[in-house]
Symmetry: C2
Subunit: 247 residues, 2 copies
Amino acid sequence: MAISILRPSISLPQHFLNSMNPQKFSSISVITKKHSFLHCVASDSAPSPSRQEMSLSVGMYLIPHPNKVEKGGEDAFFVSSDNGEVIVVADGVSGWAEKNVDPALFSRELVANVSSLVGNVEVNDDPRILIKGAHAATSSIGSATVIVSVFKNGILKIASVGDCGLRVIRKGQMIFSTFPLEHYFDCPYQLSSEAVTQTYLDAIVSTVNLQVGDTIIMGSDGLFDNIFDQEIVSVVTTNDDVSNTVV
Amino acid sequence: MAISILRPSISLPQHFLNSMNPQKFSSISVITKKHSFLHCVASDSAPSPSRQEMSLSVGMYLIPHPNKVEKGGEDAFFVSSDNGEVIVVADGVSGWAEKNVDPALFSRELVANVSSLVGNVEVNDDPRILIKGAHAATSSIGSATVIVSVFKNGILKIASVGDCGLRVIRKGQMIFSTFPLEHYFDCPYQLSSEAVTQTYLDAIVSTVNLQVGDTIIMGSDGLFDNIFDQEIVSVVTTNDDVSNTVV
């Protein structure tokens, strides 16, 4: 099922917390790997112009791996209710299934913990501090890659551990991309329940200034490993409505 | 000729302003297009630890197009004397030669004007404002693509108009890249002496948090159009000394 907010919609009725409601999402098996992404468009309408000039229209979709459809996949994502001011995507590391641990538990709890930190003054709009706090609060066994973005005053702040990703498209051209970090092939940097693990200090931290009309694509490696960037640009450019793109 | 500062060198003896001294640079004809780049490595040594924890060791090189060797090419670059706190690369648009205008004039004056603005309190460490001021002060006929970076407190701020570029490499992996913006193939966004042109408002603005040991590659499209990113990563990874990499 697609959850989409049409441009220039400006406020989401509530937090969309997939990690808490995996049953809300169905699958499409066109793509064989797990595949979740968020698609956001910056617009110049805002519920509170005094607070910020731009807001985001958000569409989102989750396509679990065909073998993981019943459980809702192992990805989790969250979009805060204030026009996508905070967005997080986490991807549970599937190797934990070999140890009879559900890889979805860690990613879902991690994302839930990010959501509970939104608005905390100590976070101070810093996505890396959101990762730090959420990781510390997560007690599930497992590990996950994660990307967190915070949008404020026209600037998108991003912190990423591992191979979740984000792209920004402007006027039919890609103007920004995150990059994955991995120890070796198919072993990305990850937050974990284990003592020896990456932390928020290992996050790649960056920002990009957005303009009205920019499109942001966030997702797990299931998206970016299966679709070339130029295909993403093409789809986004030919669909100027968020809801059309995500479905 | 290579100008290189070995890691962990911490201060340059003076501003390296290629735009004012093009004769200082010779060419190597391995690469057939114009090809200039800067290679910087973040280190934890600094002349004034109280001011910033990290500084940059800088190496630089210019390889003009073989047909432009005698005039020193049409690129220009500048590195401020305070450990590369401000770095700029500009690339004169060669099409002006068809109008009997030397394409190097605009890029060199633009870069010189950036250098004269370094330290101006109104710039406030903002690379976009550096572009704004330098463009306004440039009276030469012509146009140029340009990228400006400002490094302070561990954060690299970047503003780019057109197809000059910047890469950051960490532990053998690319973690950050700028992207070119163009109107159509081979016609990049550019600052110009013409009234109808791009301005600082068209710059792609981004930041990336650096860690000690990161390597930054900045250059004109002559570098990035001729060398794949994975080749750049390979060269940088196998040469941990800035001077080895740039020669």
